[in-house]
Subunit: 404 residues, 2 copies
Amino acid sequence: MDKLNNNKLVQKYSNLYRSVNEEFINIHPIQRGGLLTPEAYKALINYGDGYSICDNCLKGRIDEIENPPVVDFLKDMATFLGTDNVMPTAAARESKRLVMEALTKKHPKRKTVVIDSLAHYTTYLAIENNNLKAKEVPNSGEPEYILESENYENIINEVKNETGQLPLLIVLTHVDYKYGNYNNPKSIGEICKNYDIPFLLNAAYSAGILPINCTENDIDFIACSGHKSMAASGPIGLLGFSSHYYDDIIRFSEIKGNVTSKFFPNKICTVLGCPPVYGAPLITLMASFPTIVKRTQKENVDEESKKANYVINQIKDINGISIVGKLPKIHPLTNIKTECFAEIAKSHPRKGFFVRDEFKERGIIGMAPGISQEMKYNTYGLTWNQVKHFASAFLEIFEKYNLI
Amino acid sequence: MDKLNNNKLVQKYSNLYRSVNEEFINIHPIQRGGLLTPEAYKALINYGDGYSICDNCLKGRIDEIENPPVVDFLKDMATFLGTDNVMPTAAARESKRLVMEALTKKHPKRKTVVIDSLAHYTTYLAIENNNLKAKEVPNSGEPEYILESENYENIINEVKNETGQLPLLIVLTHVDYKYGNYNNPKSIGEICKNYDIPFLLNAAYSAGILPINCTENDIDFIACSGHKSMAASGPIGLLGFSSHYYDDIIRFSEIKGNVTSKFFPNKICTVLGCPPVYGAPLITLMASFPTIVKRTQKENVDEESKKANYVINQIKDINGISIVGKLPKIHPLTNIKTECFAEIAKSHPRKGFFVRDEFKERGIIGMAPGISQEMKYNTYGLTWNQVKHFASAFLEIFEKYNLI
């Protein structure tokens, strides 16, 4: 085994510098919603140390800390999401895994999770991790990839017929990672209610960007992501859940030491005691919360949609550019096919990397490196000047390569 | 449901301030090892945003990111721990849970995890979470709480006789949460090797504070905690593991969408794709790593032990004070019985809170609030001046209440 050389270690690790924020406009599709607010930055610096949030932990439970006001925050967040309870988790993927695990204990014979065909890979992995089976609800395919709620009903009946059991859970991706499509949960929530099947909304890309009310949409569980869409340093997820499932999710420890007789009845077994969000993740989420509440109000949501649609309108008629996903955009995550760029990449000395190079020269980063066939970006939270600069950059590049 | 009032939210959450670090000496038992290094602070501010570490992710896997140098870091950390592989996890508790889950897939009939009777509650919860049974190895009891390795052998044979199966896993707590006892893994590692039972060292309190070499001690798995003992913002754990168990831990996804045919063969199912440590947790751990390597060298370790033993020597002869756990201290987490304080608390207007009050008046915080019967503290990383001030504070309080 190699020996460690401390000089080399210092060289490699002691000056980790990220130039992104100050010098560039970052349109990385999964980063726009996670950029910290000034309040979160302040909290981050104050609470940077490991267990900082636990200074005044009196009950051995992070969700019961009153100073800083975690208890209040979880209640306020539940109100914000229109659900009964909120528990922090390691990440939205972990929220999904925990729900499936809890429901499997409740309904061990139900082995199928019905998901939409736009689901994030972590939805699949949460299913696999619980030794369950995924059954996909199809979409309308190119170019809009629309989910029809009646297909949910068909698939539920298929599962019933094939397995003799109801699905364990129905999952809908509120806004998907690939096309940024907004999927209204209302009618699917009604179907789930009629069939008495638990309904989980994966709101990792949406909660914190778009408004959502679980109760009004018959949503039993909601998975959220602080680092993706709630301006938190993270990683931190949230699991919102209706009181109907309280005892399934908040399962207290029952194990007892055979020699010591130690037991831990106030520890939540589901999250191994306290979810791993002590310190920076939770405190930054709390500090950003007032901004989150404000930015999900109609006026701001409409303004952000306008920005996304503005860029699209500037570029959509170029030959070799086609917008994928539902239009007009509601959520600003946008996917475009860029056949014109792919054509250029064939003979460009930098191959597909030229796309990233050209935008970077214009002060814009966040494109997937090396990819020229398609582009995913997100205009969320950019100023109008930045949005216009981004659209102009497209047009400049089109011009440079004689595409217009 | 209540309505959210934005003014109130701003009031409650927009100014989260922690006074601890600048104004007080913090002797909180689980916080000393997690205090950030200056390099980690710089990295924290640079990489505060949600997915900041993923700017240059080319392969969709956090453990394969080369800029910042995650790949190098994981290799260097494996070298540091004397193991073959290192994967970040949400926290040390999650490392333990993952190992038990992986081994259960390998040996589904083995249902017993043998643990020492000083184990942290999360060891029990990881067992419970995997529907396994804990079997405790006794200790010598008050005042030293010593674990004898021959008892491990006895318990292993008991499990074999009772269940017809070997234990699934043996867990040793390297340094325990309660007495700060250092338990040498060497002889237990040998026993595990002889019986061919996987051996996990819970090094949440030790790795990053004391040196440890897994290979030399026949340790198959090591669970570490960045926020507890490696000067990381966190939460972040590490799971170190020998190559013998590589395929059990790094289990790639095999699920496939029935409609979309989507599959994710490069995603690690065990950690749901990427462990939730993107951004601040991992970058601060990386930035502190050179310091961690340095501070676990003999000279510094000896100096830190000296500080802990200095305080003990100053106070141990006071009537009504007794030191619990093995002496002299190797790890500076210290537990003392403070019967003299408990006696005073009976008639003190502030009850048990007077202990915390008295220390706080002297610029020292981190005591469990309201507790007067015992005290847990940690002198790790205090300057000698601070150590002496802490010991003097004890003596001043003893004097004030006529205990000396």
